[in-house]
């Protein structure tokens, strides 16, 4: 019984982890059609922000929940102004440009900040579930993922900015005719995607640690989740994370992490064979 509960917590944490790493990409790639290969580096920048702010004596929670999204969001806006805005509608070109960008960011961070930084540890303690001990931080990750999903729905559906952003992505010409400025909206949307990614990087930093090359560990999973999810940002990310996270984690429990990764890829491939446009092309079609 206690084992089942522990497995459930770990499954939820895996799902939460996938939601965290892919929600920003869902906006940048899912909504804006920018193949952002530098997504993993945005996560890394969030992690670095937390670690460097921690070294400078700033409270870890402030660094994680405020500074990381702010810094990475601003970096995202700068990148959008310098590179991305010339590449809208040219999906393959964005792939090449952001790949170069990712190499640049890794090199830049290595040279400027070095790659041997002490990680941060956040003490949320641990609690007992029968014979097992579970980290309190796992619960925090699950909660953060839930907050992000709900927050994104609320923003896209409930605010004027969300409405404008959705409208502009659907038909920029019409949005411009109505007196809005699509370039500005693209910039802000990209910035929000980057900020969410930075937040995720900050939240994950205490358990994964930060090195300049850490993005590689996340980039494939993030893209697989977003593509499997399909067009709807929140419902897609949520459903794909739930499915893939559960499959990989349960397989890992039953066998080994290697087989767990294989199972995740297998399910994603099989699913895309059946639903080439992702889960939300058939289910949750009218949701966000």
């Amino acid at each position: 019984m206690d084992y089942a509960l522990v497995v459930l917590i770990e499954v939820l944490r895996a799902v939460g982890g996938l939601v965290l790493i892919s929600i920003g990409l869902a906006i940048i790639f899912g909504m804006m059609r920018i193949v952002n290969i530098a997504h993993g580096e945005f996560l890394m920048l969030g992690g670095y922000t937390v670690v460097l702010a921690g070294k400078a004596g700033i409270n870890t929670w402030v660094a994680m929940l405020v500074l990381a999204p702010a810094v990475v969001g601003l970096v995202g806006i700068a990148i959008e102004r310098c590179f991305i805005r010339f590449l809208y509608g040219r999906m393959l070109d964005t792939l090449l440009a952001t790949w170069g960008l990712s190499l640049f960011i890794v090199g830049f961070v290595t040279v400027v900040f070095g790659n041997t930084l002490e990680g941060v540890s956040v003490s949320l303690g641990s609690f007992e579930v029968g014979r097992f001990r579970v980290a309190g931080y796992s619960i925090f990750i699950i909660a953060m993922a839930a907050v992000l999903l709900v927050g994104t729905v609320a923003m896209l559906r409930g605010t004027r900015l969300g409405l404008i952003a959705r409208g502009t992505m659907q038909n920029p010409g019409m949005a411009a005719a109505l007196g809005l400025s699509p370039p500005k909206i693209y910039m802000v949307t990209f910035g929000i995607g980057a900020a969410l990614t930075g937040l995720a990087g900050g939240v994950l930093a205490p358990i994964t640690g930060v090195v300049p090359t850490m993005g590689i560990a996340f980039i494939a999973q993030a893209f697989i989740t977003v593509i499997t999810g399909g067009a709807a940002i929140v419902a897609g990310t949520g459903s794909a994370s739930s499915l893939l996270g559960s499959v990989s984690q349960l397989t890992t429990f039953a066998t080994t992490p290697v087989i767990g990764d294989v199972a995740l890829l297998f399910v994603a491939v099989a699913l895309l064979r059946i639903l080439p446009q992702g889960i939300t092309s058939r289910f949750f079609r009218r949701s966000l």
Partner: protein, 416 residues
């Protein structure tokens, strides 16, 4: 600057560079300098380990030059950055062997990289020193391995921690040849000491999520966890282990933690406290040779991180220094840098007093007999618990005899 000036100046500069390289060529032809090749990962994922090895190799070369060089000639280091990239290992090994014609190559970090460059250097008759702790079993007359092997370290570590903590062991290991072979050694030694390995789990190098593993370990209830994890991603295990409050429940011993030196810096002191390891070198070894070595390195290159920007002194970097010194002793004895004569000189069993203690070449395996130490991490400092004098590379000795089969060229693997 006017365009014309610029053209003039750059032409002049070009000519100077050209002259310099011409002079370099003629110098090599006369044999004024002895060239030493260094193939290390100065950049890329493993640069934290490769860069100190490179720095300390340079330090060793400088030290020999300050004492007048070798055979009346100065040494010159030719370095090539392999960038943690196997293709580059292959091409750069060819480059230093064929283009630069170095007398010896020091380098390689992972076992994978060693197996890329070892055949290349053998083919092109260039002597090779591999200065990393590894899984043992390389048997090649052209190659000297100066790091420790499992018979020297794991054999000491396992009984020590089993006596201290108990007989049930849970092994977690990196999923490539080093992890697979080393965890096989762990199993062998645990069983020889009357214990039991409850499970051995392997992890690809990019795994960061150890949640299920931590719960599985708790379900298995071992007396201790033996970690053969490798690399930055795997450090997540120690963090998540501490976060789950397991540090006080089940202790950890490791064949890899801190081997490259950065692990105790990357994670907090609380997370690394109490991990027991066994290597051929620790900065805290209390012998005069080590103190003198540390002072010299610090004066020249700076203090060790996190205090300064000097090289991390670990088994990796210090064995690189010792490998260079052993080769130099071989050259002195042979009176030439000729590859075969140096090998024969080294095979007389050259022995030196080094920072890690006495280091002696084992002629039959081309590995070394050296002192080995057990240490416990306390607030990022290695507290030496026990030292073992003059441990032979027994694992490789069991399979390799270069005296009998000088043409042997294999990487033997343990069979259990």
């Amino acid at each position: 600057m006017k365009r014309r000036d610029f053209l003039k100046k750059s032409a002049a500069a070009g000519a100077t560079v050209g002259m310099a390289s011409l002079i370099g060529l003629s110098a090599r032809a006369q044999g004024a300098e002895i060239l030493i090749g260094g193939l290390h990962d100065e950049t890329g994922g493993l640069d934290f380990a490769g860069k100190p090895m490179q720095q300390v190799l340079g330090f060793a070369v400088d030290e020999i030059n300050e004492q007048g060089g070798l055979l009346g000639r100065k040494l010159k280091l030719v370095t090539a950055d392999t960038q943690t990239n196997m293709q580059l290992y292959a091409s750069l090994a060819q480059q230093v062997a064929l283009k630069d014609k170095v007398s010896v190559v020091h380098g390689g970090l992972t076992s994978a990289s060693r197996e890329v460059i070892r055949p290349v250097l053998r083919r092109f008759n260039t002597l090779y020193f591999y200065n990393t702790l590894y899984e043992g079993g390389v048997c090649d007359r052209n190659c000297f391995c100066t790091g420790t092997t499992p018979a020297q370290t794991v054999q000491k570590l396992v009984p020590h921690v089993m006596k201290k903590w108990g007989k049930k062991v849970y092994t977690i290991a990196a999923d490539y040849n080093y992890g697979q072979i080393t965890s096989a050694w762990v199993k062998k030694y645990v069983e020889e000491n009357g214990g039991q390995v409850l499970s051995t789990d392997f992890f690809p190098l990019d795994v960061t999520n150890f949640g299920p593993t931590i719960q599985k370990i708790q379900a298995a209830k071992p007396d201790l966890v033996m970690s053969v994890l490798v690399g930055a991603a795997h450090l997540g295990f120690y963090r998540q282990w501490a976060a789950a409050g397991m540090k006080k429940q089940i202790p950890i011993a490791s064949t890899t933690f801190g081997a490259g030196g950065t692990e105790p810096i990357l994670i907090t002191p609380e997370e690394s406290e109490g991990i027991i390891t066994c290597y051929g070198y620790y900065p805290t070894i209390d012998i005069p040779a080590n103190k003198a070595f540390k002072t010299k390195v610090q004066a020249k290159l700076g203090a060790m991180p996190p205090a300064g920007n000097g090289p991390l002194l670990t088994e990796l970097s210090v064995c690189t220094y010792e490998g260079m010194m052993l080769w130099a002793a071989g050259v002195k004895k042979a009176g030439t840098v000729d590859r075969m004569k140096v090998i024969e000189a080294l095979e007389t069993g050259i022995s030196l007093d080094m920072p890690s203690g006495k280091v002696t070449i084992d002629p039959t395996t081309h590995h070394v007999t050296r002192d080995v130490y057990l240490a416990n991490l306390k607030n990022r400092e290695y507290v030496i618990l026990e030292s073992f004098s003059q441990q032979p590379p027994a694992d490789t000795q069991a399979v390799c005899d270069l005296k009998k089969n000088p043409n042997d060229n294999q990487h033997y693997q343990i069979k259990l």
